[in-house]
């Protein structure tokens, strides 16, 4: 036999004393009948409508096996007939939420076939057609055979590294080529662990969005300058005056 927890016993005692003090004085029956019949919490115990109490008193006088909520339960210190003739004991309190809450909210879902696969297929088709058309009209560059004795002027890295090459004009190579991109990369990897803001709504993320936009724009502008505004000797030029010095 499990013991009745201390706090529940205390609560039941208090309720019993309160009920004894009020000696059967009933409050207006504002509680729903279903709530009142539930043997349990002290909140409802004071509010059991008088007609129900009468009924349970009558039931206590002529006990039937089904009416007893704990048949055969001994050991508990509760008297066989409590205040107002209750023969019920508080065993445990089950909060409604733990029974009634469903764990997952049903989601609006669609079948992957056809809804997602068709979209993916069309996107892949569009990109393939674009690549095919672009490749028919624009040839990939193939310059002269590599020649160690002839350095082209300017010598440029692939376009995605031109931001770094651009920074070489401003900083020491270790800072421009290693330190700054290294720190940037580490910050990028750490972003989910740095940004503790749980909200995904753009209006709650003004700082994060601003920071990322400035960061992306910083690199985009550097790449643009490195690609289009740098001529012989990696000097600043305007492409509309001096022409393009850029190969993909």
């Amino acid at each position: 036999m499990t013991e009745i927890p201390e706090h529940l016993r205390k609560r039941a005692d208090e309720a019993r004393q309160k009920a004894a003090a009020a000696s059967g004085a009933d409050k207006p029956a504002d509680a729903a009948p279903s709530e009142a019949t539930a043997p349990g919490s002290e909140a409802t115990e004071g509010r059991i409508p008088v007609h129900l109490l009468d009924r349970s008193k009558a039931a206590a006088n002529q006990p039937s096996p089904g009416a007893d909520p704990a048949p055969g339960g001994g050991g508990a210190p509760a008297p066989s007939s409590g205040p107002d003739g209750h023969n019920q004991r508080l065993l445990t309190v089950v909060k409604s939420g733990s029974i009634q809450d469903t764990k997952s909210v049903p989601q609006d879902k669609v079948h992957v076939w056809p809804h997602l696969l068709v979209a993916e297929f069309l996107a892949a088709l569009a990109v393939t057609l674009f690549l095919l058309a672009f490749s028919i009209f624009v040839n990939a560059p193939l310059l002269d055979l590599a020649n160690f004795n002839q350095t082209p002027n300017p010598s440029k890295a692939p376009w995605y590294f031109l931001g770094l090459q651009e920074m070489l004009t401003m900083f020491h190579p270790m800072v421009a080529g290693v330190t700054i991109p290294g720190i940037g990369l580490i910050l990028l990897v750490m972003a989910p662990y740095i940004d503790k803001n749980p909200s995904k709504a753009p209006e709650d993320r003004k700082f994060a969005i601003s920071l990322m936009t400035v960061h992306l724009m910083f690199w985009a502008v550097l790449v643009m300058i490195g690609s289009f505004f740098r001529g012989p000797g990696f000097n600043f030029i305007f492409p509309w005056n001096s022409g393009l010095f850029f190969e993909l």
Partner: protein
């Protein structure tokens, strides 16, 4: 071929014989639409995914908002598709290319002038590579602006940043292979920068170049990195990336 009963049209009888054969049944799983035919019903829509290899990539159902093109812009999927595209065109190019300083440039020239569709396939490989760098980058920006890196997707963001770097490395190693002036000097600029890594900069550069200067050893080294090692690593990271997308409850959102 004449059907023994003569009651059914020949084509239909043949189809039934083929679909009833052991070989056919061994190729397509029970429930496959290629065994039992397809008529549009919710059950068959599920079977299309469940009984095909697509089940490795896609669940049977996704959130309705997840198929909205305006949310994802298809960028992640297109990055994956471009990777496949690059693999296919890359394999074609490998048939005509030898990674030595004496032969690489001539092989490319021969490919462009004497091999059927050689120029076209090389063009597609090159433009798809640039496009993939762009689409992976834009995919990252999209994910950031949607806050999709937040729990429980933190680790998948980390994998994604790795994939971005692998994409850059794949593109950069491919840059050297034509062995023309553009390739040589672009790679010279790039590797010189890496040489400034603190403490062990010269070692990093030596390992990357396979020597103190760019040469035929560098070409071989970058060729192996480009066609084998980096794609291998990338495929593993992609597998983890896609697996985590599903395990973390599909794509993020709606906002």
């Amino acid at each position: 071929m004449v059907d023994s009963n003569g009651s059914k049209p020949t084509g239909q009888a043949l189809a039934e014989r083929v679909q009833g054969s052991q070989a056919w049944g061994s190729i397509f799983r029970p429930g496959s639409i290629f065994r039992k035919g397809y008529s549009d019903s919710p059950r068959n829509r599920s079977y299309v995914i469940m009984n095909s290899v697509l089940y490795h990539l896609h669940p049977v159902k996704v959130k309705r908002h997840a198929v909205k093109v305006s949310y994802t812009l298809c960028l992640g999927g297109l990055s994956f598709f471009l990777f496949i595209h690059l693999t296919v065109t890359g394999i074609f190019l490998m048939f005509f290319y030898r990674p030595t300083a004496a032969q690489a440039w001539n092989d490319i020239l021969t490919l462009q002038t004497s091999v059927g569709f050689g120029l076209l396939v090389r063009n597609m490989h090159r433009w798809a590579a640039h496009l993939m760098v762009l689409s992976v980058f834009l995919h990252m920006a999209r994910v950031f602006y949607h806050g999709a890196y937040k729990p429980p997707r933190e680790f998948n963001w980390v994998i994604g940043v790795m994939l971005l770097q692998l994409t850059l490395l794949l593109s950069f190693t491919g840059y050297l292979l034509p062995w023309d002036q553009l390739a040589l000097w672009a790679v010279t600029v790039g590797t010189n920068m890496m040489g400034f890594t603190p403490v062990f900069g010269s070692q990093v550069r030596f390992v990357l170049l396979g020597g103190v200067e760019i040469g035929t050893d560098t070409l071989l080294r970058w060729y192996v990195l480009h066609v084998l090692m980096l794609p291998f690593v990338t495929v593993i990271f992609m597998a983890i990336h896609f697996w985590r997308v599903r395990k973390d409850g599909g794509i993020s959102g709606p906002l």
